[in-house]
């Protein structure tokens, strides 16, 4: 999932970096409100946990294996803001210390795997838990949230690709193939996320952020009596809304662009796969199998124009968020 350098044009990479920086600074502020002076050690340990969990491989089907992405899991366990921080730090560390994921693609990786994933997962999760506030709903909600978050992140990738990808692949095909394969990956992600959440819920329900307000006030381990002051709050933790709004705008933007391109070649996939007769050969890949031999124009002018527009809008949104955060910070200090 870690996008390397060269996959996206420089302008999209920089635009995404601005979005990521804005998102992370929003997350920083809100996580700090929640965890106060515990932020650094707690988020650090959770980040180490996510890094470790990403190494848990599970077999998906016939010889391929997937690994947990962990964004949804983190959002449900520690809340969306801390989750964004943790995933961002994991990606930064992977990029700078392990040369995993391109440095110019960091913004894209953080936006997709951190912000979009956490926002979508948390939004879906809250919706489900609000309808039926009980343990079953939490576990079911975790499953659905994680399941949905993965293909949505994949679609966001496809959208970015339509705006500023460097390969001449039909955007609709990318969206369909990415979405499709990632629904499968999402099932694994959802399953593992749900069982993980339910096993934490069984032992330390107080630790599951998404279950706050559903559990009675709980005492932590004897040694940590002090931490009990963090009383469970109502189901609607207030700071969630601006987060969802901000992230929602970004995702909507991405989604809008991708659907525009996707609709321009609805039947492309099967037709060309049949025509060219390499269905089997290509479908082993991440992007499923298809080529659209005569769609040259689609990849040409419209993509270029939309690309520029997209970058501009993304930049504007990112700068807007950054500006708002700045201003708020000035007010508070």
């Amino acid at each position: 999932m870690h996008v390397p350098d060269g996959f996206f044009t420089a302008s999209v990479s920089i635009g995404a970096a601005v979005v990521a920086a804005a998102g992370v600074s929003v997350a920083l502020r809100n996580a700090k409100q929640e965890l106060d002076d515990r932020t650094a050690p707690m988020a650090g340990l959770v980040a180490a946990f996510i890094f470790a969990v990403q190494m848990l491989n599970f077999p998906v089907a016939a010889g391929t294996s997937g690994h947990l992405l962990g964004g949804a899991l983190a959002a449900i366990l520690v809340g969306p803001y801390t989750a964004v921080l943790c995933v961002a730090v994991v990606l930064l560390v992977q990029g700078f210390f392990f040369a995993d994921g391109g440095l110019t693609a960091l913004g894209i990786n953080i936006t997709l795997m951190g912000i979009v994933t956490a926002a979508v997962a948390w939004g879906v999760f809250r919706l489900i838990v609000r309808v039926a506030p009980n343990r079953t709903a939490i576990v079911a909600g975790s499953f659905v949230a994680a399941l949905v978050s993965v293909p949505v992140a994949a679609l966001a990738f496809a959208a970015l690709f339509a705006i500023g990808g460097t390969a001449p692949i039909d955007a609709g095909a990318v969206a369909a193939a990415m979405g499709g394969t990632h629904v499968l990956i999402g099932i694994g992600e959802g399953l593992i996320t749900a069982v993980t959440v339910s096993s934490v819920l069984a032992v330390r329900p107080d630790l599951v952020y998404g279950a706050r307000g559903l559990t009675k006030p709980l005492v932590l381990r004897t040694a940590d009596g002090e931490r009990v002051v963090e009383a469970p709050r109502g189901p609607e933790a207030k700071p969630i809304r601006p987060f969802l709004v901000g992230a929602g705008i970004v995702s909507l933007l991405l989604a809008g662009v991708v659907s525009f391109f996707a609709s321009s070649s609805p039947d492309g996939l099967e037709r060309v796969a049949e025509d060219k007769g390499f269905l089997g050969q290509a479908s082993d890949h991440l992007f499923g199998g298809s080529a659209l031999a005569d769609y040259g124009d689609v990849g040409g002018i419209p993509v270029g124009v939309a690309g520029v527009l997209g970058v501009l809008i993304t930049l504007a949104v990112g700068l807007g968020i950054a500006y708002l955060v700045r201003r708020k910070r000035k007010v508070t200090t």
């Binding site: 006030p217 005492v219 004897t222 040694a223 009596g225 002090e226 009990v228």
Partner: protein, 245 residues
């Protein structure tokens, strides 16, 4: 009087009461073992000594200063807590930074800080490891560095939580040697009765949230019925040497 606990009672917010009026006094230079079965309230008591938990009733005084919200910083300098798992205690990237963390929080900087760091590491024989990351050290070495992180703050009293746990015999002996040579007041929480006997002249038994016994370690460990009553046992084949009394 270095440490004075009076009538200390504490209940966790859920109502579970852990301490039921603890009374104890430790004078300067004493080395005291705090013995007790699991669940006796040892950790709860220790958490009161540096103000992580606040007394529900009664008082804790360290060198005359009563533990309270307003003087936490000073109390935490005076009470050096060494946690059971050195990985919890050594959270900084290098040994040097870790040992410097405490004094730096107290506002010490520059040459004085360097001096405190090297001095503390010398006292536990770990000066060679000063620039290494903690996770490259052996468990025994990490525990010694953990002691140094606390020594660097010049505490009035050193509180050790299970100092001998998970140590191999050689590390156990080395640590004992270091602790014996330290010129500080020590309160050592442990199940390791031979270790208590070796290092501490005085022992307390904390049981069911009160001090159930207080006296010379040798006498307490020789009293078999007292030990059994509080779920304490000497290791197989171990007997208190009867010389000296």
């Amino acid at each position: 009087m270095t440490l004075e606990v009076r009538d200390l009672a504490y209940a966790y917010p859920d109502g579970t009461q852990a301490l039921f009026g603890v009374d104890l006094r430790i004078s300067r230079g004493e080395r005291v073992a705090l013995l007790g079965p699991n669940g006796a309230g040892k950790t709860t008591l220790v958490m009161h000594l540096n103000g992580i938990l606040t007394a529900g009733h009664g008082t804790v005084r360290v060198a005359g200063l009563q533990v309270g919200k307003e003087n936490l910083q000073e109390i935490r300098r005076r009470v050096g807590l060494v946690f059971q798992d050195p990985d919890d205690q050594l959270f900084m990237p290098t040994v040097r930074e870790d040992v410097a963390f405490g004094p730096a929080n107290m506002g010490v900087r520059g040459a004085e800080l360097d001096h405190k760091v090297t001095d503390a590491l010398t006292r536990v024989g770990m000066l060679d490891a000063i620039d290494r990351p903690p996770h490259h050290l052996s468990f025994g070495q990490r525990r010694r560095v953990a002691v140094a992180t606390v020594l660097a703050m010049d505490p009035e009293i050193l509180v050790l939580d299970e100092p001998s746990s998970n140590l191999d015999p050689a590390s156990r002996r080395e640590l004992a040697q270091i602790l014996k040579n330290l010129d500080v007041t020590v309160l050592m929480v442990t199940h390791d009765l031979p270790y208590a006997l070796e290092l501490c002249e005085r022992a307390l038994i904390l049981s069911d949230g009160v001090i159930a016994a207080d006296g010379p370690t040798r006498d307490i460990l020789a009293n078999e019925s007292l030990l059994t009553a509080h779920r304490l046992e000497l290791p197989y084949g171990f007997a208190i040497p009867s010389t000296g009394t």
